[in-house]
């Protein structure tokens, strides 16, 4: 017994002594990146969170890729940007050709029939394809070129070209080696009762359990999955013979340098910062402002780490429910906007690392940003004047009231809701309440749990909401946010006018960029006047990374960096 105990102690001691030094990264080829959460589901048809999106884009390729530096879609699997032909108001033909070098892992070429197969899988009854179908349902059919096996034409009902090539292409040889779906047209799958082979295919697809076993689906991206320990870590390995390596000068979407990418799931920000400082992590993106500034000012950390900030397309807004009796007129909404001290807010919650904007178009998008509009300023005096113009009368006790159309007295009192536990929302709400109280406007803060907040938004029960909204530089479709057809579904402000509807529709349909610029500037002016919401500031993404990784390719699109294009410096 004593011997057994001594043996056990010896084992523990040996293990402990082998671990006693912090495991700093000694291999330049492995890049360790922090993730806040697990990808959950790695089925390319269901991309439900940011970590999954990043992984899928490393395992698979799409035809096009949204590029932050060019602010447009660029060819990825496609040889060049597609050509388009307008058939009529509701039908657009988009023709692509796949790069001749592109091959699957087994060496067979990636062909137009793989794209047709992918679209059929996205429309295959019995599969969890509802979201993909809703997003790409505008692709009605595909016509393969009989002369060129890499060329095909998509028949689309939507005028947005970029979206027609923004989904992972799946390998037909791996999922349907006998080509059972080939004889069935996309149109047939969408509209008629599918034959039994489709149900059989769906069963085979489901049996692969791709959500948990993405390694069973060989993609055409540069990486393959080595290990996925759910909730802990995910490791990808660079394919030794990836097809794009044959290109003499691969364009940015086809560059992949790190031999191994290891994503470490660390939910807590303070723990992740410690891990980065100890060398257990190499890259930490979307870092909280306070931690980032602290590390920047620490001589030890700045000697080992490099710091990057990049302008994002995510912005903090204060939305007004225009159906609320106190908020239904634009003058009151304008007045309340003047109670936000945006520079102070940027300093308090983002340590100065954010930038104001006149509206929902980022100032970074110079072509579309309306720089002739003034930035919203903090001015209680202007607010006071605007409130009086709106018909509000100050009472002897300092509060405000006005009579509505029926002669009933309405007090100026608003409830400000925001997702509980988010410091930047809370700071903005508290600052607003302080400024409003000084003016006699009653403000009640309501930090709320996110699902309850969603429900209240849908029911139109929220007067004012502080929240983050996200955009991107490729898509200018404000239908879900502000169109009258989305009121109560995703347009929670309830704001919609015939003019704003018309502008939204025209912006979505216009492909000519100078015309789009005119329309977008007009739209920003309309929103600045009507103020269904006020943009407080655009966020900057903060990335801290080990110097050994070399310069990090940062982007304004989440996750804030391009993992595949990180080029670790060789060890000296």
């Amino acid at each position: 017994m004593k011997q057994l105990l001594s043996g056990l102690i010896l084992l523990v001691w040996a293990g402990l002594s082998s671990c006693s030094t912090p495991p700093a990264n000694t291999s330049p080829s492995t890049v360790r990146i922090r993730w806040a959460r697990d990808p959950d589901n790695l089925d390319p048809l269901i991309v439900s969170n940011l970590s999954a999106y990043e992984t899928i884009n490393l395992l698979h390729c799409s035809l096009l890729q949204g590029n932050d530096s060019t602010l447009s879609y660029v060819p990825w699997l496609a040889e060049s940007l597609p050509t388009t032909r307008v058939v009529n108001d509701s039908l657009l033909h988009i023709t692509y050709r796949i790069r001749p070098e592109a091959t699957w892992d087994n060496g067979s070429p990636i062909l137009a029939r793989d794209v047709a197969f992918t679209l059929k899988v996205m429309n295959c009854p019995g599969l969890p394809i509802e979201l993909a179908q809703a997003q790409f349902g505008f692709i009605r059919d595909i016509i393969l070129d009989p002369q060129d096996s890499r060329r095909f034409t998509l028949l689309c009902t939507q005028q947005e070209v970029g979206s027609s090539g923004d989904y992972s292409i799946l390998p037909e040889y791996a999922l349907d080696p006998r080509g059972t779906l080939r004889p069935i047209s996309l149109e047939h799958l969408r509209t008629q009762k599918p034959p039994s082979v489709v149900a059989e295919f769906a069963r085979r697809y489901e049996a692969l359990e791709l959500a948990r076993h993405p390694e069973r689906l060989p993609g055409c991206g540069p990486y393959r999955l080595v290990k996925w320990q759910s909730g802990r870590a995910l490791t990808l390995e660079r394919k030794p013979n990836w097809w794009a390596d044959k290109l003499p000068a691969p364009p940015p979407p086809l560059q992949a340098f790190p031999a191994r990418l290891s994503f470490q799931i660390i939910p807590d920000a303070a723990t992740a910062t410690l891990a980065l400082r100890r060398g257990e992590l190499d890259l930490y993106s979307l870092m909280p402002a306070g931690e980032f500034t602290r590390l920047q000012h620490s001589p030890t950390d700045s000697a080992r780490l490099r710091f990057y900030t990049t302008d994002s397309y995510q912005f903090l807004t204060a939305s007004f429910n225009v159906r609320h009796p106190a908020l239904h007129d634009r003058l009151t909404r304008q007045a309340l906007t003047h109670l936000f001290n945006i520079p102070a807010l940027i300093q308090a919650s983002q340590q100065g690392a954010a930038y104001p904007s006149v509206g929902l178009i980022s100032p970074r998008l110079r072509q579309y940003y309306n720089d002739s509009l003034p930035l919203p300023d903090f001015s209680p005096a202007t607010a006071l004047k605007l409130l009086q113009q709106a018909g509000w009368q100050r009472q002897t006790n300092g509060s405000w009231q006005r009579r509505d159309a029926t002669g009933r007295l309405t007090p100026l009192a608003v409830q400000v809701a925001y997702r509980a536990g988010e410091p930047s929302f809370e700071t903005a709400a508290l600052q607003f309440r302080g400024a409003a109280a000084a003016l006699g406007v009653a403000v009640e803060l309501q930090p709320t749990e996110s699902s309850l907040l969603n429900r209240q938004q849908e029911a139109g029960n929220i007067d004012m909401l502080i929240s983050n909204l996200s955009g991107n530089p490729f898509l200018y479709n404000f239908t879900s946010l502000l169109h009258s057809s989305s009121v109560g579904v995703s347009n929670f402000t309830g704001f919609a006018t015939p003019e704003s509807d018309r502008l939204i529709e025209e912006i979505a349909l216009t492909r000519n960029s100078s015309r789009k610029a005119v329309l977008l500037r007009k739209f920003q002016r309309l929103l600045a006047t009507e103020r269904p919401f006020s943009v407080l500031y655009f966020l900057k993404y903060r990335v801290a990374a080990a110097r050994a990784l070399g310069p990090i390719p940062v982007t304004g699109i989440k996750p804030g960096y391009e993992a595949a294009r990180i080029r670790p410096l060789p060890l000296h």
Partner: protein, 351 residues
């Protein structure tokens, strides 16, 4: 008759378990929005959908997850609001489907990743059990040691109690963060790792594995021990003090027994009785894990599973995990009854 009593006891526990889990299912479904988890995933989607398509998609997804049918066999009929009436839904209801599957050991699948709930629970327990069992064993061992030491050396008792009460005042979050910032911080002492159970690219040989696991579990375990220990030790010490003032102890001392012998052989066994309930209370905590510690040290255990499934409205996982903890709590009560009987055979559980 003991056979029948036992049977009644088991049946009563089983019915309590069924009622607990059923109430959990019905309350969580009835008072929450079934489409909440869909809404958050639609909002995460990079492409905004038009209203009509979004509404259709929500309906399709509700159907996929079996949430489009009524909740229970009978539901209030909303069509006739002027007088209360009930509608019979037959077996085509969410509760019937869930119960039929649960009886067969199938707790459904997660909304988030489509994995069976049982698999997710087993996977999380693999991380939670080593941590919580280690913490429980250390806490019990230390409680025993500290209480004996305080009572054998009474001059140290007040100092010991003061420290224990001080520890008890600190919440787990504070204790764990302090340990992390003191013992895994390059600015103070970087003795222990900051997160997880080791990087998978740093392979360890089999003989290094137990030590490595222990090394990574030191801070999480210590955090749990520091918050569990005071409650147990103060309670046991109080009970022991009561025992030490009883006449039979004076008799033992008069017969020449040493203080330590009196404490070990006479006082502790009797003092254990009120502490048993506290000890068995540790059992549900073993499977529930600790949300704070698992989030802070990045361990994907049961605590984190519970917190994440609650945050994402993943109800099958949430009900499975809470149901398991509730059942273990029932089991803990059974264990407590048995232990009471073992420690003091005069006690009879009323059935």
């Amino acid at each position: 008759m003991p056979g029948r009593s036992l049977l009644r006891y088991v049946a009563r526990t089983a019915i309590a378990g069924w009622l607990t889990v059923s109430s959990l299912f019905l309350i969580s479904r009835a008072y929450t929005d079934s489409a909440a988890f869909l809404r958050s995933s639609l909002e995460n989607s990079s492409r905004p959908l038009p209203a009509a398509r979004r509404a259709r998609l929500t309906q399709q997804l509700l159907q996929r997850y079996g949430l489009d049918v009524p909740l229970f066999y009978i539901t209030p009929d909303s069509a006739t609001t002027w007088r209360p009436s009930w509608r019979w839904n037959g077996v085509r209801n969410q509760y019937h489907r869930w119960l039929t599957r649960a009886v067969q050991g199938d707790l459904g699948t997660s909304y988030r990743d489509g994995s069976p709930v049982t698999e997710l629970l087993a996977r999380s327990l693999l991380y939670t059990l080593p941590l919580t069992v280690l913490a429980a064993v250390c806490s019990i061992g230390l409680t025993w040691g500290i209480v004996v030491w305080m009572n054998v050396r009474p001059s140290w008792r007040s100092m010991g109690l003061l420290s224990l009460h001080g520890l008890q005042a600190a919440p787990l979050f504070l204790t764990a963060t302090t340990l992390l910032l003191l013992l895994a911080n390059p600015d103070v002492l970087a003795w222990f790792p900051a997160f997880g159970l080791g990087l998978e690219d740093l392979e360890a040989s089999w003989w290094q594995q137990p030590g490595r696991l222990l090394y990574f579990l030191v801070l999480p375990t210590l955090s749990l021990v520091l918050v569990t220990l005071p409650g147990l030790a103060v309670q046991l010490d109080g009970a022991l003090q009561q025992e030490l003032h009883r006449p039979y102890i004076a008799t033992a001392r008069a017969k020449g027994s040493s203080v330590s012998r009196v404490v070990w052989h006479h006082g502790l066994r009797n003092a254990l009785l009120p502490t048993l309930a506290l000890l068995t209370e540790l059992l549900p905590n073993l499977v529930a894990g600790s949300t704070v510690v698992e989030l802070l040290f990045a361990l994907p255990g049961m605590g984190r599973l519970l917190a994440e499934s609650a945050a994402t409205q993943d109800y099958p996982v949430l009900i499975g995990a809470i149901g398991l903890v509730a059942l273990v709590r029932l089991l803990a009560q059974v264990v407590a009854d048995i232990l009471y009987w073992v420690v003091d055979p005069r006690i009879r559980v009323q059935v």
